[in-house]
Symmetry: C5
């Protein structure tokens, strides 16, 4: 169960970004620090200027309410039609994997990475 | 009547997604657990890379203020014009049904699923 | 003057939608219940798949700060250029009128309808 | 210095809109009432159906942190490419001027106008 | 470590904007005042009306969670395809650098600049 909000420090905000392309079609974000609570907020997705004029599909894989890991297509971009799109702050809790489902990229995902530290008395 | 906010746990956030296509034109989200309060927040809609170059209309069916169930078209997408769109966090309270009104898809809807648990003393 | 927030129940959220077309170019939302405080939050606008390939302009008419009713064009859509657009949560206080200013539609507006109930002691 | 939040009434929300065109290229919003604190939240920008198929640039002029007035281009629209765009709630504190930098319009800006009244004891 | 929220004044909001072009491909925002806590909220990006019909890539360079400075492409714009895009409020903490990665511009970034002042007793 996630912690009660009162036992968490004020979330620190960092820049988040990852690039998906033909030789690196996946990017995984894990939480390797039990003393923190982390969240991504996805803000925009865009193609590289050199991307082929084909459809590029980006999917995200994460946990659903019934505890299963599910793959959800997020956006379809194409240089001559729609090279970028805002995601307006799509919050996702790691662990999460981003995957280039179709197209050779590069596709860039940008957003914020929020990290809260759990109070020490909370961990006893 | 929905519960007073103070009797609810902090909402847990999960990934939500569904796919609509010619052989599965509807996706229904029910609340089958009276001990919880649930909400979807729709973030993006996109066509699959293989979708036909026709207009795809997605509608949502849910409850309005006068207690009736109503069908509301959400978005019209077309691969050669607009393959994706952000919905910027369109919160909807289940029960709700998503329907592919026109086009053969696939159309992917993504967002968040918030679940709050009602305090036990609240249920006596 | 609108009520102090503490005298209002927690806003209940419902689905809102309306369709504008050549034989129904206006849709008005009134508040016919003095015991409630109501607000719309517009989330998306889209053309119907059968709309003519012309510009469709949607305007909203509501109250400005100087107490006058004013008509404000919200969005211009065209099937072959831009069939849909997110409004990202454009909150508007009824009474409000949506109007198809140009084009024959159909144009669909979707969003949320928030309703708070005023406390009984508040109404004496 | 802006006032402490506790001395302000709950912000009242009104509809805001303005139109820029060749014979009226500027629209200025002033605060002519010292007893209030005001803010605009820009939600969408769109071209009129009759606008020429050229690029239309809208800029906003307002105060930056170093106290200077600066002109910032907000959006470039063109009927055959992008006739409308959401601004998702771009809050700006008057005094502010909107200007049609290029193109003959009409261009319509829509949003919300928030007005809070300062408590009387606050003004002694 | 950023300060506890209670020791900060109410954030003051100012207009933010910068322009990137061939003879000025970078714009850096530093925090040169230790008594303040600052944050940018990016709202929109758009091309100038005179921009060449090529892809323009804008990237942002800032700090990630592991303390490294990273370059993240934000948006790809092209006059004949997508001349503008909303970023819906992409909050970034300075120091941060915006860079025109490809294309000759001009590209305009607009948003808000929030500044909170640290309480004096907080600095002893």
């Amino acid at each position: 169960m996630e912690d009660d909000i009162s036992n968490l420090s004020r979330p620190q905000m960092y820049l988040f970004g990852c690039t998906l392309k033909s030789d690196k079609r996946e990017f995984r974000v894990d939480v390797d620090d039990d003393d923190t609570e982390q969240q991504l907020s996805l803000k925009a997705v865009c193609l590289g200027a050199e991307a082929e004029d084909k459809f590029h599909m980006v999917e995200v894989e994460g946990l659903t309410y019934d505890g299963k890991s599910t793959k959800v297509p997020l956006v379809a971009l194409k240089p001559s039609v729609m090279p970028s799109m805002t995601l307006g702050g799509f919050e996702i809790t790691p662990p999460v994997t981003f995957r280039l489902q179709s197209g050779s990229g590069p596709v860039h995902i940008s957003g914020q990475h929020f990290v809260s530290v759990k109070d020490s008395d909370d961990e006893e």
